[in-house]
Symmetry: C2
Subunit: 350 residues, 2 copies
């Protein structure tokens, strides 16, 4: 830590001053951005396309703990979780708005750090920050992001259009973010008990990056488009595989079979789950915050899907009256249960 680093109090700057400071992080490069920050509202021109809109709210103490969440990562993640929703429609994100509620303990530099993460995500995913709101907060930090995307008319992939017989696919691997969070929570406790002990995070770098700096699967969406595979239904995995599969089934009026042995889990996640005495499959099914894509395809597209990097078939859609099922590695069938990872239950636990 640099001791002499300049710290400007937000109160000295005022809201308009703060907006000026933050405006410089919004570089509008997108052709369809007509007007960005600096007026009552932002203008987006989407001639002949459909505008896709999504929004997510991140609250201190619920979605993140500032003890172990670097502010730059937090800004990055706040954008990514929204973009993930846009990609889950097979759409391309184009613009975001960001509202921040900031407690007085934050310096302007701290807020700039959050925005530098936002800017980094915008640059990587090629989206424009076109507006927002900033306010004092009497309590914790609050980040609300809305993302706009475009998709060719009628081409958005929804949740309610899977058919019986479709194959269920998932990108990446699951459960790692949940385990990363468990490690951070453990190290936090150790640190709070003895502040001389430095946290051991290096050996679980992958898991920790999955919780602190997730990525949206633009690459998968683009590969699917390039391979001419149009998923029959799609959702992103924010609350755990189980819960998201059940959303697809319920909305599409189908049942499903998921084969536990096919669920992709990273080796680091498996060994860490064992260390925490948790079944690795449970972290994949109920952990959440993976931001992978879960989608269904017509089984005739199987050969096309096999050439796509980082996508695995984990089951198939069956008739609604056959239920939503998990087949374990020993061959037993259990009904899927959506434990999910809802922020309301988190509070319950606290």
């Amino acid at each position: 830590m640099e001791k002499d680093r300049k710290v400007t109090e937000i109160n000295d700057l005022g809201e308009f001053g703060l907006i000026d400071v933050l405006s410089k992080f919004a570089r509008n490069n997108e052709k369809s951005t007509v007007l960005g920050i600096g007026d009552d509202a932002a203008l987006v021109n989407h001639n002949g396309f459909e505008t896709v809109v999504t929004t997510d709210l991140l609250l201190e103490g619920i979605h993140f703990d500032l003890i172990y969440t670097p502010l730059k990562h937090l800004g990055y993640k706040a954008v990514v979780v929204n973009l993930s929703d846009i990609y889950a429609m097979m759409a391309e994100p184009k613009q975001i708005t960001v509202s921040l509620g900031i407690s007085s303990k934050f310096s302007v530099e701290a807020i700039e750090t959050i925005y530098s993460g936002i800017e980094k995500a915008c640059a990587f995913y090629e989206v424009d920050l076109i507006g927002g709101d900033t306010s004092a907060s009497l309590t914790g930090l609050c980040i609300s992001v809305t993302a706009l995307g475009v998709v060719e008319k009628g081409k958005a992939v929804k949740r309610n259009t899977a058919k019986v017989g479709d194959l269920i696919c998932v990108s990446g691997d699951l459960g790692a973010a949940y385990l990363g969070l468990q490690i951070l929570e453990r190290e936090k406790q150790i640190f709070l008990d003895n502040k001389n002990i430095q946290p051991e995070l290096e050996k679980n770098k992958y898991l920790i990056e999955r919780i602190l700096k997730p990525e949206a699967r633009r690459d998968v969406v683009r590969q699917l488009k390039a391979a001419n595979v149009i998923p029959t239904a799609m959702i992103d995995i924010s609350d755990g595989l189980s819960s998201e599969v059940m959303h697809l089934c319920t909305q599409s009026k189908t049942g499903c079979v998921i084969y536990d042995e096919n669920i992709p889990i990273n080796p680091e996640a498996i060994s860490t789950a064992v260390q925490f005495n948790i079944d690795p499959s449970v972290t994949a099914l109920n952990g959440g915050e993976d931001y992978e894509l879960l989608f269904t395809i017509n089984k005739e597209d199987l050969s096309k899907i096999e050439s796509i990097f980082d996508v695995k078939v984990i089951g198939n859609m069956i008739a609604e009256n056959e239920g939503m099922n998990l087949v374990t590695q020993s061959g037993k069938t259990y009904p899927l249960t959506a434990q999910g990872w809802t922020s309301f239950r988190d509070v319950n636990k606290a």
Copy 2:
């Protein structure tokens, strides 16, 4: 108060249950709404028009005090403050998204009450609620609204396009919301000191309605369009007249003269200001939360503006190097100062 009224705990319902409960308040009637609540993102089709996007964050303890803010009014206002920004572009709002962070003290019925206010505003202003996010909050209530509107390509009225010689106009009256807030704060103190004393609010109904249930000036925008008046610049008044005039001038690179005697102030506001020992003009200039429209017109449009209900000319744009000036009723000229009403200063005061 009905003692036996059923109260459902949010924790019993879970997030998905809550979304189901809230979804029924979203009736998508707008032709351009392709897909609303229930998927990863919402779809809006705005063929040949520009999409207008704005967002506002309302935080408990900063923007509202639940001791005297009815939840239904709060939901209504959270929508209106966003629509006001859309109208201030001379655009028509079409859709909103709403994210709520809710502390565990809230019952489902309380949240439904907030949404009933949101629904009421949506119905009155003919906009669709198309998405959002709900989350637990460890601290206060948090409401983030994003509004989308449409405007004919190139027809949005911005802040930076006023010209020297233009007339400065304002709708409605100013300062009433600020005074309404002062009354609510006074009655809150009286109530906290002696809980047997019922607040006296009836005689200041107008002022209290201005702070608790403001309206966006759709009527003024529609009258301007009907009269074929295209303002040269426009902004809505959320931080006080002074601050907003200075925004128009700074962004348009002009100066201004505002005539104090022309600033519209309601008689109830004048008498209440006197009672509080505040100059009524100060409440108009710096009070904020009026959600009136401030705009400039070419002086050739003066005769057209005179037929428009509830709009008054309060000054004119002059050269930038002549400064931003207020002429008092005694004829003295002072430089305008933007005290505004920023939420950061509110924290400072607390």
